[in-house]
Amino acid sequence: MSPKGKGARTIGFFLTMIGASAFLDHLPASIAGVVTAAGVLLWWRGLTALSARAA
């Protein structure tokens, strides 16, 4: 497993969860959306880096 991918995955996971939780907590959708999108991008980047390394 690529260490870089794992790091991005972990940080991305937390950002995604904070963003998604912001939706649940009824924060403005613009704030929650930006945080979630940044988290998902980072998390996805981490996952694809791991998959590429595994392949």
Binding site: P3, K4, G5, K6, G7, R9, T10, I11, F13, F14, T16, M17, I18, A20, S21, A22, F23, L24, D25, H26, L27, T36, V40, W43, L47
Partner: protein, 240 residues
């Protein structure tokens, strides 16, 4: 959709837990957070440690960065953003793990760093629980939160005071990692359960968070008492 968005990344991330390697012997476990779970989580955080080492980030910088993070978590709790507050608490707990491990890797862990870490941890605990106290200021739960705050401080104080007197004092289930996981995860699960019950507009208490806070209030004070008894026995020359 949001619930699915939370469940999917969580399920994918937890998948690696079941494929984890056997933790090395240096990892200490506890009754609530075992060695396997800790070892797996440390493995997830290791790349971030590597990144910090490569960029020359000092452990003290990470330690101090917990202060604004805790202020943010406390503010989120105070504003009623319980789920966001919970995730921030969990992220701060991770940062606390990273700074400790980074310190051991780079400087070997200095007394100055350990002192700074302890002080910042107390501030972080107080800021997070104070946010909850503000949130529950008109409810009887304020008393429960204040008890949890008192217990959290006393768990740390009894150990610090005992160690200053030369006594090893590690008794008690509710040490800082356990408290962080319980509060963070409890807040998150409470809000999720609340939404699953489709009571989003209900201004009442979240029953799971209520349970978590009562557990924290009782557990931390029991842990502080156990530490007091342990230190007292050691100082008096044997168990009573």
């Amino acid at each position: 959709m949001v619930l699915a968005g939370i469940a999917l990344p969580t399920a994918i991330s937890l998948r690696s837990y079941f494929q984890r390697a056997v933790p090395d012997g240096s990892i200490e476990g506890s009754a609530l957070l075992g060695r396997g779970l800790r070892g797996w989580y440390f493995e997830q955080l290791a790349p971030i440690e590597d990144w910090c080492v490569a960029r020359g980030i000092a452990p003290a910088t990470l330690t101090l960065s917990q202060l604004p993070g805790a202020l943010l978590a406390g503010t989120a709790y105070a504003c009623g953003l319980l789920s966001v507050g919970g995730w921030l608490v969990l992220a701060l707990g991770s940062l606390d793990i990273i700074d400790g491990r980074l310190a051991r890797r780079t400087t070997g862990g200095t007394p100055q760093g350990a002192f700074l870490d302890s002080v910042v941890d107390r501030y972080a605990d107080t800021l997070c629980l104070s946010g909850l106290a503000i949130h529950y200021r008109h409810s009887w739960l304020l008393g429960v939160v204040l008890l949890a705050l008192l217990g959290s401080s006393m768990v740390s104080y009894t150990r610090a005071r005992a160690e200053a007197l030369g006594v090893e004092c590690r008794a008690g289930l509710f040490q800082r990692p356990e408290r962080t996981v319980l509060l963070g995860l409890g807040s998150v699960v409470a809000v999720l359960a609340h939404h699953l019950q489709q009571r989003a507009g209900d201004p009442g208490h979240h029953p799971i968070l209520l349970l978590v806070l009562v557990t924290l209030a009782i557990g931390t004070n029991v842990s502080a008492w156990q530490r007091f008894r342990q230190a007292d026995a050691a100082l008096s020359g044997g168990p009573r």
